[in-house]
């Protein structure tokens, strides 16, 4: 049972005009900017990492259309519940570039998103956050809020019990939650074919009596429109859905990984032809008069944004030991107070 792949913008940059729908030039340019911004941020982070100025990083290269396309259709009161390879989606919703540098640089303070952003912190334990998404949606239903919740996770997440439980719960209670799977073909060294015996991930939706669809995840138009359709349905009709975005992890799993151990580099060249940014650029060039001048100007602006974010990240004072203790509870219990005192005394006595 193979669900067909939804595509609007093909690898050559040709689009099914009609399917572009209500996306204005402004929208499309916004997408293009965000996709490029995400890639620049990512490349910079990788190079900082190599220089020892950044922690272990999970590169998002290749998944920019999935990231931006899933976040753009969300309304402000909707929720984004990400795993960890979604900073493009986070930027789209307003998370700052420097906060993400801080987070990946090993500074927890970068995980504090502004109060008005409905984004949950990165979830590292695979699959667990799908249940948080379900709970947020369940609360919305109880409170009568007209919102929806979008969770994003990788192809690896479909093997976890929590994936099943989340979709089952959403099906039973008819909750406004859309489960997006970024199928980037790999879970570290495990190809998606070894994760499950089904041909597609979308078809798993049937086990929960919800709809499942499969989308070209490198086609930002298709991602946008599919997510929008199901997000709207979720918000209006309290129907859940499973959306498989077929994309590719162009880099190593993280900077601690070496993908050449388990996959042929040739495959990367194949997927480079499907690059999500290239195709949008071609489309913009053909249809919206995009040119190298505009490109260079935009890139200069984005690069400056990224550089400023790096500066901010690198100039911030290191976190105080207090920050390890202060968020554990609303009020520190005696043991934490005593331990914080221990730290302070130790530091005062010249300890390191």
């Amino acid at each position: 049972m193979k669900s067909k792949l939804i595509q609007i913008l093909d690898e050559k940059g040709n689009a099914v005009e009609k399917a572009i729908g209500d996306l204005t030039e402004k929208d499309i340019l916004k997408m293009y900017r965000l996709m490029n911004l995400t890639r620049l941020w990512n490349n910079k982070a990788l190079s900082l990492q190599r220089q020892g100025r950044m922690g272990t990083l999970a590169s998002v290269r290749g998944q920019e259309a999935s990231n931006i396309g899933m976040a753009m259709p969300l309304q402000e009161s909707d929720w984004l519940v990400p795993a960890f390879r979604e900073y493009g989606a986070m930027f789209t919703r307003g998370v700052s570039l420097s906060d993400q540098y801080m987070y990946w640089g090993g500074d927890e303070r970068g995980a504090r998103f502004p109060d008005n952003l409905n984004i949950t912190p990165a979830c590292i334990t695979i699959g667990a956050h799908l249940l948080h998404a379900v709970g947020i949606a369940h609360a919305a239903k109880i409170k009568g809020e007209k919102i929806m919740v979008l969770s994003s996770s990788g192809d690896g997440s479909i093997s976890q019990g929590d994936f099943h439980e989340a979709l089952n719960w959403a099906g039973v209670f008819k909750l406004p939650v859309v489960f997006v799977i970024q199928n980037n073909h790999w879970a570290i060294s495990m190809p998606v074919e070894k994760q499950t015996a089904t041909e597609t991930l979308a078809e798993k939706a049937a086990a929960y009596a919800i709809e499942g669809v499969r989308v070209d995840g490198n086609d930002v138009f298709a991602v946008y429109h599919t997510v929008k359709k199901y997000a709207d349905r979720a918000r209006n009709e309290h129907k859940s859905a499973l959306i498989e975005l077929v994309t590719y992890r162009m880099g190593d799993h993280t900077t601690a990984d070496d993908a050449t151990r388990y996959r042929k580099p040739e495959i990367i060249r194949e997927w480079e032809k499907k690059d999500p940014i290239e195709r949008l650029k071609k489309f913009l060039t053909t249809k919206h008069g995009w040119n190298e001048d505009k490109e260079q100007k935009m890139m200069a602006e984005l690069t400056e944004q990224v550089e400023n974010a790096v500066k901010e990240y690198e100039n911030v004072d290191p976190p105080e030991p207090e920050t390890m203790f202060q968020y554990m509870y609303s009020e520190m219990p005696w043991n934490l107070k005593a331990q914080l005192e221990e730290v302070k005394e130790f530091v005062k006595a010249g300890g390191k």
């Binding site: 927890e108 998103f113 667990a128 968020y327 509870y329």
Partner: protein
Amino acid sequence: MARKTMIKAINEALHQKMNEDKTVVVLGEDVAIDGGVFRATEGLVEKFGEDRVIDTPLAESSIIGASIGMAMNGLKPVAEIQFMGFVFQGFDQIVDHVARMRHRSQGKYNMQMVVRMPYGAGVRALEHHSESTEALFAHTSGLKVVIPSNPVDAKGLLISAIEDPDPVIFLEPKRLYRLTKKELPDELYRTPIGKAEIIKSGKDITVVAYGAMVPIIEEAAEHVGKEGVDAEVIDLRTISPWDMETVSRSVEKTGRLVIVHEAARSFGVGAEIAATIGERNLLHLLAPISRVTGYDIVPPLAKLENVNYPNSEKVVRAIHQTMEF
């Protein structure tokens, strides 16, 4: 005011809090139409409806995980795990998420939620129905762990737990659910979390327990009292954060300490109390701190349940040994 059982007290706390605060919701297996297998949630669905009293699929990870999301989106979930033995299916959600979301989001998302579950032996039930693994929660930073020992505390502590901005693991000694009745104040009241109660003050030896073991140490104290040993009896009520001050002050006075829990001894709650009191009060100690506990085994089925279970006789023996040291 009327005499009521612990299960009734818990039920009353839920009724009153749900009535007072529309953001409180109850969820779990069989909590709605059945009113909970122990009837803790009886009458709630009739009064507050299926939206706020939710019969869930048979899935503990979901129950906890969905509660997390609910708490993030402004509700105050009170989740029931049917028996403590089944909480491990949802353990990742508790230790990796409930306990950490506040820290992970650097204070943005409180986890104002309660996970209730009956714990402990003494009802001659099947496997997994007699567990007492509170130490695992106590060791998990970010949680509070509360265990009442009587109807009055059960109501007051549960109300405090629901109002606490931090997540509370609320362990109910199922053996005591219907064992005795106590005069229960009608109004909504709070019993403070983190504060032990000195049930009986005494000068010769301190005996500490919580939950189902409290009646047992009371009995033991009464027994040795007749022999002329004046025991101070402390009900911890909260094991994380436990009330170190109260225990420590007591040991300063008595110089002797017996700790009682039904959980396995090794690496149990008693170890932390003994270790901390040993650290703080070494020079006050007139005898080694003694632990009366369940053994390091799987809680046995009915036929051997009592052999594993601490009883007042075992506690009396430990008191004797400590006094005679």
